[in-house]
Point group: C2
Chain length 321, copies 2
């Protein structure tokens, strides 16, 4: 199939693993004693990465893949979330200049975190984010580091799949949060290439269920932001991309959705029973486990805890409720 040949390969993911090995935390699989016996649960705590999210993997791989000329010019991206810090830190790791276009109303704490990692922040009205990036690319020759819809990003996130298979060869099911789909695409690429019988499932809030709907219909659906912004899982409000959808359609076995209450409960369980702070979007695979374990194949389950950048006041209120 011609299309298949355009997808990221296992070799791409392996090359990414070699490239980023010394610069990311090799997260362990953490056993969760509160899983059920038919489906023993293991957590892949990507919230423990320095920036609090898996996104450092893709950013390091994409920036590490740039040639010397591009590196000398620097990189640019736009983000109000974890990708901003990922690009800032990855650029600093390689000694590059990073310009991060962020919306004017982004919380001060996120601007500060990006600047603390050496990123030069450019504030714009939200509607001008993409055009300002294009201008900066044209003016300065910066390389654009996209958040998910790029082979190097997908391959970088896929290193999580290699690691979890190495640590738990008899895994039966892998649960992965999905938003833009870079993480799910990468993990499915690695896992399905090495172990086709392992089931890889995306996990998504009902209120931002564009990928679940796309999967049901067999074609990519994009939901309006008025809909996806209803979920508290702010990291999962983006819709699946074109390239990521091509991977997900081919390599993923299904998409599970969860309610807002189920997400809140997963954040609580992770904090109190596994001592991990997860943001709502980072807890959605655990929420899917808690809500849907009975529907899974018998055997060990890995849930990727993809991020932990939760507002402390929100965490406090979830713990107190």
């Amino acid at each position: 199939m011609a299309e298949e040949s355009a997808l990221v390969t296992l070799d791409d993911v392996r090359a990414a693993a070699t490239r980023i090995a010394d610069r990311v935390l090799r997260t362990p699989l953490v056993p969760a004693a509160w899983g059920d016996e038919a489906h023993p649960l293991w957590l892949k705590p990507e919230n423990l990465q320095v920036i609090g999210a898996f996104k450092i993997r893709g950013a390091l791989n994409a920036i590490g893949a740039l040639d010397e000329v591009a590196r000398a010019r620097g990189v640019v991206t736009h983000s109000s979330g974890n990708h901003a810090q990922a690009v800032a830190l990855a650029a600093r790791e390689y000694g590059l200049k990073a310009t991060i276009v962020m919306p004017e109303q982004a919380p001060e704490v996120k601007l500060d975190a990006t600047r603390a990692l050496g990123g030069e922040v450019v504030l714009v009205p939200p509607a001008e984010r993409e055009s300002r990036v294009a201008e900066l690319v044209a003016e300065h020759g910066y390389a654009y580091v996209p958040p998910f819809d790029h082979p190097d990003i997908i391959a970088g996130q896929g290193t999580i799949g290699l690691e979890l298979l190495a640590d738990l060869p008899d895994v039966a099911t892998v649960l992965v949060p999905v938003s833009g789909g870079g993480l799910l695409s990468g993990v499915a690429t690695a896992v399905k290439a090495l172990r086709p019988n392992v089931r890889v499932l995306g996990c998504e809030p009902e209120l931002a269920g564009d990928t679940a709907e796309s999967f049901r219909l067999g074609e990519r659906r994009v939901w309006p932001v008025e809909q996806t912004y209803r979920t508290m899982a702010d990291a999962l409000r983006v819709c699946v991309g074109e390239l990521t959808w091509a991977h997900i359609r081919e390599r993923v076995d299904g998409v599970l959705t969860v309610t807002e209450d189920e997400i809140a409960e997963a954040v609580r369980v992770l904090a109190t029973r596994s001592r991990l702070v997860a943001e709502p979007g980072g807890a959605v695979a655990v929420a899917a486990y808690l809500a849907h374990a009975g529907e899974l194949d018998h055997g060990p389950v890995v849930a990727v805890v993809s991020g932990g950048n939760i507002d402390p006041a929100l965490l406090a209120s979830l713990l107190a409720s």
Copy 2:
């Protein structure tokens, strides 16, 4: 020195590492971006063990070292804290019966957690804890698994020292919480044997500062419970033992103390900046880093995050404050 020969050796710790390798989480060193440049900080997150604390290491080693006759009879201990769950889980791992003597007023959540791990809980008035253990040993021939003052326990906790040296060979300082002293004794044994120039420092609440005082005076001091129970770090209210003191006096470079406010701040920083839930006692090495980093040798620091069994309401109130 005759006394020295009675201390746990590096070989004991290595034997423990072999014995428990497949049964504990091999915790990674997690880099903390919020450390200062002269003293880059790494966390050893023992709060991620299934029982939420390092104590599983010593319990597994002590129970694993029992002979077949002793194993057939089962084990007993008394504890109202993390050691209860450690012994229950370690016994289950080896297929032994475990009887855990607990105080009548222990919180229901701790009784339930111990029972959920297969421990048979015997409730007694606090004053009868030790005598009831002695009765059970006499009646049933159970092997007593002490919480800290035993070579097998010390050797088991020392496996943390082997792991952190393997992961960060150029570490300059290791910060370790101290209560009964098993963890500090074990870590110091491993680290000092392999790298005598690495500084190993105990970390203790001011309000339960018996080990700091012992260190200052050069002889073991036991504080009355009315004093040690003032600290919110409930895991650190026990005083240093005789055997552990013998190790600490020989092998530890000093003891740092921290205030209650410094402990609270460390719990907050761990949750919000490193996405780890620590109990107050588990955060005390990080508190010492935050309060005393300027006094440390230049170079990388490892702080052991020893436990994460914090009351959710306390965590919520610390996060909201």
